[in-house]
């Protein structure tokens, strides 16, 4: 259930090999799907590239803005996967964080001013952790597969937000299913004048640095990696309390995803509504796997998949290609990585796959 191949670090040459195979396959299949759907392939690819990086607007206001929640949620998934926890619930944890952040800003934003941002970020982290606490508890007490429970929590979060924006948090006129706009003081400042890139990008980089430090240099990070690599050995040889390490990592993962939601509300949407996230929590799986679960590389893979999302939005505008195509690409990335790793490790280490 916890594949060593997911966590095993790869040599540089092999990593480049994987990336080449992945990109080549994906471009080919993408072209085939586009052609099968009756779209103009060259127009679509042109729009994809322009929308992702064709102008400074595309880079700073589309790609990097989308990268922020992907870096946070990608980190969330990576921290969980490092410990052998298959947290597929970043989407729900993000929504819980967004709801908590919006509620905080609307409640105390006027009185506390920008101080409410920090309070809101804490609320978002707590809400995300609380959302992850349910599957964490179910796994610890009853051995429930977290894949199922986290996905169920995603649906509950979606309907929960649906209820909030039609009930307690609905905007004052009670017409639209969304919350009121949060006060000016609680909105994150811009990083570059004339673009939509907000301070959340810096926060994401700080989160990466912290995660990198904790995983690499602290005892807690070491324990997490040992548990992820081999829980039985961690318990018997390392005297590690596996269950408590897993629970804490699960909560930390939820907190990171919750912050993603809070930052999204304070930096981009300025209000709570149901379609706040175009599936960032699911894309996060591709972000984390593409980065080999290494925090530093998550910046790269987050920006890459942010660019893909930005490019897809432009493909929809320019060539009428449905946004759903992004999920196909993400699925192919994930399959190519897990499949490619097995093939590569088989060639180099014939016995590595036996006995998981």
């Amino acid at each position: 259930m916890n594949p060593p191949a997911l966590r095993r670090p790869f040599s540089r040459v092999r990593s480049y090999g994987i990336v080449l195979v992945v990109v080549g396959t994906i471009v080919l299949v993408l072209a085939l799907v586009l052609a099968a759907g009756g779209f103009d392939v060259s127009t679509a690819f042109g729009a994809l590239l322009c929308g992702a990086g064709g102008s400074s607007y595309a880079i700073f206001s589309a790609t990097l803005v989308r990268a922020v929640p992907l870096i946070f949620t990608g980190l969330a998934v990576a921290v969980a996967f490092q410990g052998g926890i298959l947290n597929i619930g970043a989407e729900g944890q993000l929504l819980a964080g967004a709801a908590a952040a919006a509620a905080t800003a609307l409640a105390v934003g006027e009185s506390l001013g920008s101080g409410a941002i920090w309070l809101g970020a804490m609320a978002a982290a707590l809400a995300g952790a609380a959302w992850a606490a349910v599957p964490a508890l179910l796994r610890r007490r009853f051995g429930v597969l977290e894949v199922i429970s986290t996905i169920m929590m995603n649906f509950v979060a979606l309907y929960g937000v649906g209820y909030l924006v039609r009930g307690p948090l609905q905007e004052p006129t009670h017409i639209y299913p969304q919350s009121a706009s949060i006060p000016e003081a609680t909105r994150l400042p811009w990083l570059l004048p004339g673009t939509r890139l907000h301070a959340g990008f810096v926060l994401a980089l700080v989160a990466v640095a912290i995660a990198w430090y904790v995983l690499r240099f602290t005892a807690a990070g070491f324990r997490l990696r040992v548990v992820g690599a081999n829980p039985a050995a961690a318990a018997s040889a390392g005297k590690i309390r596996v269950e408590s390490v897993v629970t804490r990592a699960f909560l930390a993962s939820g907190a990171l995803a919750g912050i993603a939601g809070g930052v999204e509300v304070y930096g981009v949407t300025y209000a709570l509504y149901e379609n706040l996230s175009p599936g960032y929590g699911y894309t996060a799986i591709a972000v984390a796997l593409l980065a080999g679960l290494q925090p530093a590389y998550i910046i790269v893979s987050g920006v890459f998949l942010g660019a893909l999302g930005a490019g897809a939005a432009s493909m929809q505008r320019e060539a009428g290609v449905p946004l759903a195509l992004v999920s196909v690409v993400e699925a192919m990335i994930i399959l190519a990585i897990v499949g490619g790793r097995v093939l590569l490790s088989r060639r180099q280490l014939p016995s590595a796959e036996a006995g998981s």
């Binding site: 594949p3 894949v147 199922i148 169920m152 649906f155 309907y159 994930i334 897990v338 097995v342 093939l343």
Partner: protein, 306 residues
């Protein structure tokens, strides 16, 4: 009371039917030691296949199209999970993501971005004489679209297959101890492949049922977590076809509750009822299942012998 209860029971069985088909398929693959978390993707593929085929050639072709689409999705899963021995959970998650995206893309491409409501032939309820006259349960069990009757048959067939045939014994052996099964002359890879494909066909049939006997059209993401609920149903039903059938009814009831409360004029927020099946899944997984009964080799990635 009877006025509200009879439609509620009917809705319970109607919503339970696609869940049960998918859960029976998953029972087969889990009994062979493979957990297909991509069942959600298999179902949405079945939905889409059914819409395309039924639009072209009627209900029967729709059922065939749904099954074949589910089979194709399972083929992708099997290629990675059995052929390459990739992690079953991550592979399944990717399959779900990809199938949701692909069906959404093709739907928009084929039927326009507006997603105009498709008119496809659907299956009307067919009351079985005499049996449907039984008070309370008669209309719920025996005045349903033909898919429900096919489901009763399928439950029996899966039970007979798993517990009364040599091949069924082989499936269960592979799920418990693939190395022992191999020593007994069974090819575990082949058994797992067959179980995954059969599960895919049933999952596709589940999607077709959803489209042809329940909703009557296609919508992006219309599987709405049913694949994951079906996996919970398998655990609640303790990997036994009859138990799985009963567990599906429980989840059908949870979904049908919203109709009951609508008809009684409840003022509770409707999101509460929409979220109920998912919450129930969590409760059931926590309380109603024990790990001891799961096939011992479930989800195992590597077979020691190859």
């Amino acid at each position: 009371m009877n006025d509200a209860l009879t439609p509620f029971l009917e809705a319970t069985v109607r919503t339970a039917t696609p869940l049960a088909f998918a859960a029976l398929g998953e029972t087969l693959s889990e009994r062979a030691g493979v957990i297909n978390v991509g069942l959600e993707g298999v179902i949405i593929a079945g939905c889409f296949g059914a819409v395309v085929a039924a639009g072209a050639g009627g209900v029967a072709l729709g059922l065939l199209g749904g099954s074949l689409a589910g089979l194709a999705a399972a083929l992708v899963f099997g290629t990675f999970a059995v052929g390459l021995r990739t992690d079953q959970i991550i592979t399944g998650t990717a399959l779900t993501l990809g199938a949701l995206g692909l069906t959404g893309t093709l739907y928009h491409a084929m039927y326009g971005t507006a997603g105009a409501a498709l008119s496809i032939p659907t299956m009307r309820p067919f009351a079985i004489p005499v049996l449907s006259q039984i008070p309370f349960l008669g209309p719920a069990l025996f005045a349903q679209p033909a898919m429900t009757y096919l489901l009763y048959l399928t439950i029996g067939l899966v039970w007979w297959f798993l517990y009364r045939t040599h091949t069924g014994l082989a499936v269960r052996a592979v799920g418990e101890h693939p190395e022992a099964a191999e020593a007994a002359g069974i090819n575990p890879m082949r058994v797992q492949w067959a179980a995954i494909l059969a599960g895919g066909a049933l999952g596709g049939l589940s999607g077709a049922t959803l489209v042809l006997a329940q909703v009557g059209t296609f919508a992006e993401g219309m599987s709405a977590g049913r694949g994951f609920i079906a996996i919970a149903i398998v655990a609640l039903g303790r990997w036994h076809p009859l138990g799985v059938g009963l567990a599906a009814v429980l989840f059908g009831a949870a979904s049908a509750l919203q109709y009951l409360f609508q008809s009684t004029g409840s003022t509770l927020p409707y999101q509460l009822f929409l979220a109920l099946p998912y919450v129930l899944t969590l409760v059931v997984l926590a309380g109603g299942t024990s790990r001891a009964r799961a096939p011992a080799a479930l989800g195992r990635r590597a077979l020691a012998i190859r």
